[in-house]
């Protein structure tokens, strides 16, 4: 009985993990290329969620179609933030970029709050569900999972096959060397920041398919911490590491929830959140380069 429940929850975790992974790819891309930690990560996810909400409730556009649109909006935001502030802070101490990204997140949250208010909202996209024996998966979650795998694959192809993707990889390896070889490093920084933010905003769209009624200007905070755990699991600088880190994290989160729920006198949900923090510290302590990366 308990094993059946555990297996069911683990499958749910794997599906959720694919979204977590995609949500973290943008964070890792930005860190890999610019060596900037986007502390405002969660706010960009929130922007994606609101885009979905507005497109669905306002124009009846379904969340799958909203994803590319959200990606474009995210890229736009990324370019704006890059050219107005990030560009000048790349050589500054870490304190500066950490605070700047934090402030960007705060600014977005406050603007959305101003426009939409701070109550929880949601939408209802009824496309049925399927029963796979041990657990029931709504079709929305399956679409979201397929969507995020698709994005990961597209990003992989883009990285390997296009000139800009190759240039980006060269900057990750060695930005001085890339500059010497004629790569326009400044442009690659801007493009990576924009694509990174685009990915995060797009992941916000897919994430709403898991929490259709939990959309709120401050919803992002919880995902920021999760994203850091995932990014660190995957080695922080690698978008693919982040994707697999997401899968692992989804399994850990749902698995531990099922097990914590067996303990008497505890709140399993809060303990799950505590566990993710402990994992973060442990990995940073033992293997700062990430669990999934062979060194």
């Amino acid at each position: 009985m308990i094993f059946e429940q555990l297996a069911g929850n683990l499958i749910q975790g794997l599906v959720l993990g694919a979204i977590y992974g995609m949500a973290t790819m943008g964070l890792s891309l930005i860190f890999g290329v610019l060596k900037v930690v986007n502390v405002g990560h969660g706010a960009f996810i929130m922007v994606g969620a609101f885009i979905t909400l507005w497109l669905f409730n306002g124009l009846g556009i379904n969340p799958i179609l909203a994803t590319p649109f959200a990606f474009m909006v995210g890229m736009g935001l990324g370019f704006i933030f890059y050219y107005t502030s990030m560009q000048r802070l790349l050589k500054a101490p870490e304190l500066a970029t950490l605070l700047a990204t934090f402030a960007m997140g705060m600014l977005l949250e406050e603007i959305v709050k101003l426009v939409a208010g701070s109550e929880f909202r949601g939408y209802n996209w009824a496309v049925g569900k399927i029963n796979i024996g041990i657990t029931v998966l709504p079709m929305t979650k399956i679409y979201a999972c397929i969507g995020s795998v698709l994005v990961a694959v597209l990003l992989y192809i883009w990285f390997k096959k296009t000139r800009a993707g190759t240039a980006m990889r060269s900057v990750v390896e060695d930005d001085e060397g890339a500059r010497v070889c004629g790569v326009n490093v400044g442009w690659i920084y801007a493009l990576s920041f924009a694509i990174g933010i685009g990915l995060v905003v797009a992941s916000g769209v897919l994430l709403t398919m898991f929490i259709p009624v939990g959309i709120n200007p401050y919803m992002g905070g919880a995902y920021t911490l999760k994203a850091f755990v995932i990014a660190v699991l995957g080695g922080l600088a690698s978008p693919y590491g982040a994707f697999f880190g997401g899968l692992v994290f989804g399994l850990i989160e749902n698995g531990s929830y099922t097990l914590f729920a067996l303990l008497p006198g505890v709140e399993p949900f809060a303990l799950t959140r505590f566990l993710s923090f402990v994992i973060l510290l442990l990995i940073l302590l033992i293997r700062p380069t990430g669990l999934l990366r062979a060194k």
């Binding site: 860190f31 060596k35 900037v36 930690v37 502390v39 502030s85 000048r88 802070l89 500054a92 101490p93 870490e94 304190l95 500066a96 950490l98 605070l99 700047a100 934090f102 402030a103 960007m104 705060m106 600014l107 949250e109 406050e110 603007i111 709050k113 101003l114 905070g221 920021t224 911490l225 850091f228 755990v229 660190v232 922080l236 914590f260 006198g265 505890v266 709140e267 399993p268 949900f269 809060a270 303990l271 799950t272 959140r273 505590f274 993710s276 923090f277 402990v278 973060l280 510290l281 940073l284 302590l285 700062p288």
Partner: protein, 333 residues
Amino acid sequence: MKKNIAKYYPLIPVFAAYLVMFLIGKHMSGMWQLMAMLAFYCALGQAFNIFLGMTGYVDFGYVAFLGVGTYGMALGITKFASFEGLGIGIIAIGFILALVMATLLSLAVGAVALRLRGAYFAIATIGVNEGFRFLIEGARIWNGSEGIIFMAEMNKAFGREMASALSTFWADVMVFIVAALAALVTIYYMRSKIGYALTALREDEDAAKVMGINVTKYKIIAFITSASFAGLIGATSWAIKTPYVFPPEVFEIHYTVEAIIIVLLGGSGTLLGPVVGGLIYGLAKYWLAVILPGFQLLIFAPLIIVIILAFPEGVIGLLKVRVKGTSLGRFIE
């Protein structure tokens, strides 16, 4: 001997500012609450500056130490309220508990996080407040998510009148004292080997290490000092002043952000900076709450970006360069 005292001249404007704030609060009717709030922000800035300003490391989980300090005082009062004859000694026990708990947490966090640098350090600390909050809620420690309400215990231990005086007046006086103590420790560090070591490590950690400075030791000293002051601030401002504690409130990352803004605004790594930053921030927040309620964050967010881009040295950082070598220069640090 005279030279030794001259080293501490920069304390004069700091203490003068606190004295003026105290006197305004005491003698002008209706000003006490505002001055108490300003003192809280100055104290917060002063305490945080010892770590952030002196090392250049960003601790996003700083509020956890305030939260733990709040719990320390809350536990002190609830557990010892039934002992007859302890009287005001209970407050002392509360402060000791707050100090010990904040120090222990900072040791635990520091042992892991201070091995890491820059971005990795920030990532390790960003979850400390959340992590600790969820541990308290999840494992139902100290009443879990219901929190602790100890108004009744305070009344029982000190009598109704004294308890009310404690929370409306003495708690704020103690915040002033903590702020002044933090300033004293800051200048002591600045003028000793610790300060020089921390400056070296802030400028270039590798070079400092190569020069034979035990960087880890000094980082830990700054981290624990800063955290224990946070514990004391939590114990007075969040426990004695408002006799209840709820996990989501005392571990709210918002306060870390406020501390960062204050330190940056005034000038990180300076002595007078956090006071100036605290005053500007506190007054701006108070004023904005009156004219544009609910919009403070919307204004502060772009403000942070502007400060970082336009004048990262802060008000006192800029002033210090101006007055260097003049007679005023001796008083500004």
